[in-house]
């Protein structure tokens, strides 16, 4: 091995060399909200002695294996890893040696004497070709060149800055979709199955390209301005920490994935409790019969199955616009419970209440069910703003028998009454009649009681739980 190749990838400036560098990395991982214990940090150091430090990907996966404990932590970890163990600084130069295609082309676009517009145009053509072929490695290399050429902002005293939006605006990859589609479809007719699948492929590749551009911008900013600064701003909250009420479209799918196993867990928990203590009264006849096999000694005792307590669950859910993101997840929970128990009834309300159990047939699709509730259920009586008082009244009046001594009641909503009567006595009465009652509120606790929120007053008659993100929902589920 030649001399310059020795040593870890990337600059190591800290005192303490490699060990100090690793320590800094572990700290950054901790600061991003991933708990790393001391023994894990020690294991990480051991990893450095075992893997080939010149193989950056091996190092990445190796450290991930000891530092991470959940799949959701991986995106955050990858961002930090790229900052702490960056690739070398000259992507184009280093790649020309072994690569004749992308590297040289990158070089030639750099030397192009034409205007910015011409440059962008030629790079667009290149991007189109690469997206068509779908080679991840080349696409990444192209992203690095693109950031170098197109991503520069105004130079300022604090250093050169790079922006991903400049690159994406110049290349506007989204406008390539139709060309890409016709390229991928070669000869097949549009509109059918083939197009849908090609669209999915295009979506995947565009996302990969955008990710590569953003990663490269982060890397360059880190070398200009220090990685600690970038690490703080670049790391997104873990999926189960995202606020239900603030979740964006991109987070939603991720969140749904986080909630799905949770729903199953809740169902398993409830059914596990039913099965525990299965030993009922002694079944004398079966025990004696079984003892014949062991010479009349009753080694194994048999018991009659105990009568199972069937939990009944009534879910009362605010589906108004202000809590739309939240109610979606709770309805998903309802659906999962419906699949395991017969005694689950779901009610939805905005300013009046309707039973929505029928939309959650076992096997029904949740997204579909939520859409149908909006269309078909009779939840809006007056103006489409939440009216808890009327909703509780209607519920207690029309479905008086739904809540009984065996029922657990679950109310979901932010408790914002639009200054209408909150209907406290009705709710108190429902709570009194039920076996247990909880209210899940997606608003932070400090906002309860502010403005039109009656959450603090409701909290006096029912156990109100803050449930802002999937992590808190998980916590509630495990204490239920």
């Amino acid at each position: 091995m030649s001399a310059p190749a020795a040593g870890p990838p990337g600059p190591v400036a800290e005192p303490g060399g490699l060990a100090g560098h690793l320590d800094g990395f572990v700290r950054a991982v901790r600061e991003a909200g991933i708990p790393v214990g001391i023994s894990q940090a020690v294991d990480a150091a051991e990893i450095l002695t075992v893997v080939d430090l010149l193989e950056r990907e091996q190092l990445r996966h190796g450290l991930a294996a000891v530092l991470l404990q959940r799949a959701a932590q991986r995106p955050t970890y990858d961002v930090l890893f790229d900052l702490w163990w960056p690739l070398g600084d000259r992507p184009v130069g280093s790649s020309t040696g072994d690569e004749d295609g992308g590297g040289e082309r990158g070089q030639s676009t750099l030397d192009l004497p034409g205007s910015d517009a011409e440059l962008a145009e030629s790079m667009r053509a290149e991007l189109l070709r690469l997206l068509q072929e779908g080679d991840d490695e080349e696409l990444r290399r192209f992203a690095r060149t693109a950031v170098e050429v197109l991503g520069r902002g105004q130079p300022s005293p604090s250093g050169q800055s790079f922006f991903s939006y400049r690159v994406l605006r110049a290349l506007s990859p989204d406008t390539l979709v139709s060309q890409l589609l016709s390229g991928l479809l070669t000869g097949q007719e549009r509109g059918g199955l083939a197009e849908q699948i090609a669209r999915q492929t295009v979506r995947e590749r565009l996302t990969a390209f955008r990710g590569a551009v953003e990663a490269e911008v982060r890397r360059r900013t880190a070398t200009e301005k220090g990685r600690d600064k970038v690490a703080k701003s670049a790391v997104r909250p873990l999926a189960d920490q995202v606020d239900f009420l603030r979740a964006q479209a991109a987070d939603l799918a991720e969140l749904r994935r986080a909630v799905a196993p949770l729903a199953r867990r809740l169902a398993v928990r409830l059914s596990a409790r039913r099965r525990l203590g299965r030993e009922g009264r002694l079944d004398f006849r079966r025990t004696v019969r079984a003892s014949l096999a062991t010479g009349g000694v009753p080694v194994v005792t048999h018991h009659r199955p105990r009568k199972v307590h069937k939990p009944e669950l009534v879910v009362l859910c605010d589906v108004s616009g202000s809590v739309a993101g939240f109610s979606h997840f709770t309805l998903m929970l309802t659906q999962a419970l419906r699949e395991h128990f017969t005694g689950v009834r779901a009610f939805a309300f905005v300013d009046t209440t309707d039973e929505v159990t029928r939309f959650f047939r076992p096997g029904a699709d949740v997204v579909d069910a939520v859409a149908r509730i909006g269309r078909e259920a009779d939840v809006v009586g007056f103006d489409g703003h939440s009216d808890y008082g009327t909703a509780f009244d209607v519920f207690a009046d029309r479905w008086a028998s739904a809540v009984g001594p065996k029922t657990s009641l679950l109310v979901l909503g932010d408790g914002r009454t639009n200054y209408r009567p909150p209907g406290l006595p009705v709710l108190a009465d429902l709570v009194r009649r039920s076996r247990s009652a909880h209210w899940l509120n997606p608003e932070p606790r400090r906002l309860w009681g502010s403005g039109d929120s009656a959450a603090d007053r409701y909290g006096e008659v029912i156990d109100m739980v803050e449930c802002r993100n999937a992590a808190q929902l998980a916590e509630f589920v495990t204490t239920l």
Partner: protein, 295 residues
């Protein structure tokens, strides 16, 4: 605390892991190969977590083949206890032995007592079996998340020291440390303590490229063009929010089906007639048909 028995590393490098797993019929990506290599080198249990159908159990089986070890499997379920996981005394046989002594083969109580707690009356369950083996062993603890929390405590004890204390027999320590693979579907969070002792490998569905290679290696007669088309379709299906996303094994089943039917392209009619191979819920099928414009 006694140091766990040392184990000679089975693999010489990450590339070696990839090569030997591939020979065993499992195509690992870099992440899998690196993590397996480290688990082997550091002698730590490997915790593999991911959605159903991403090849977790398959990895353990391929490891056993690649290292020439025997696979011992402990399938976890709710209510699994020490008697099923570790060891149990064979009560019936013990009873027979006592009765035989009473009926006059003359042995006094002390002999009988020593006798009935001997090797002959011990039923060895997977964990004990794996510890006692002297040949190379891969211990697969499957679906760890389905077991109760108490079992995790038991696993912690066994996996940190690789020894088991049986009150009547004394301590049984491993002479040769088995390679341990735990799998989990993440339906519940495993305890921090258990995770800390393991190397963590999060498995997701493979990349398009790798899945195509898997299809071609397992169903070699399939035309490469059709394989690529198949993988693209599967990925489109996985992008939909289905109840149960198609697994790798279902991809392979589908490839096999297309081959058996002699179809050379996956168009609307082929897909309509074979969708049942990959999607097993009526609602999923309806959803896929609507989103992919099959009708």
């Amino acid at each position: 605390m006694p140091r766990p028995p040392t184990q000679f590393p089975q693999f010489s490098s990450v590339a070696d892991v990839s090569k030997r797993l591939a020979t065993a019929g499992y195509l690992p990506d870099e992440q899998i190969a690196t993590t397996v290599f480290l688990a082997d080198r550091l002698g730590k249990p490997l915790l593999v977590e991911g959605p159903a159908g991403t090849g977790k159990t398959e990895l353990a089986k391929a490891l056993a083949v690649a290292t020439g070890s025997e696979l011992i499997r402990l399938q976890c379920y709710e209510g699994l206890d020490e008697a099923r996981a570790l060891y149990e005394w064979n009560y019936k046989k013990q009873l027979l032995r006592i009765q035989a002594a009473q009926n006059g083969d003359g042995a006094d109580w002390n002999t009988v007592h020593d006798d009935i707690f001997g090797e002959e009356f011990l039923l060895s369950r997977p964990l004990l079996t794996a510890i006692r083996r002297t040949e190379p062993t891969v211990l697969l603890i499957d679906e760890t998340d389905k077991a109760d929390v108490e079992v995790e405590g038991l696993l912690l004890e066994v996996l940190s020291d690789f020894q088991v204390t049986i009150p009547e027999l004394g301590t049984v320590a491993a002479t040769r440390r088995p390679m341990v693979v735990l799998t989990s579907n993440a339906t519940r969070e495993l305890s921090e303590a258990l995770k800390r002792r393991c190397l963590y490998l999060a498995l997701d569905y493979p990349s398009a490229e790798r899945e195509r290679e898997i299809v071609l290696s397992r169903v070699p007669d399939l035309a490469p063009g059709l394989a690529a088309q198949l993988v693209r379709t599967i990925r489109a299906l996985r992008a939909l929010e289905l109840k149960k996303s198609p697994s790798i094994s279902e991809t392979l089943d589908w490839a096999q089906t297309l081959l058996e039917l002699g179809l050379d392209t996956l168009d609307e009619s082929a897909m309509r007639s074979t969708l049942g191979v990959v999607l097993k819920h009526a609602s999923d099928q309806q959803r896929a048909a609507a989103e992919l414009r099959l009708n």
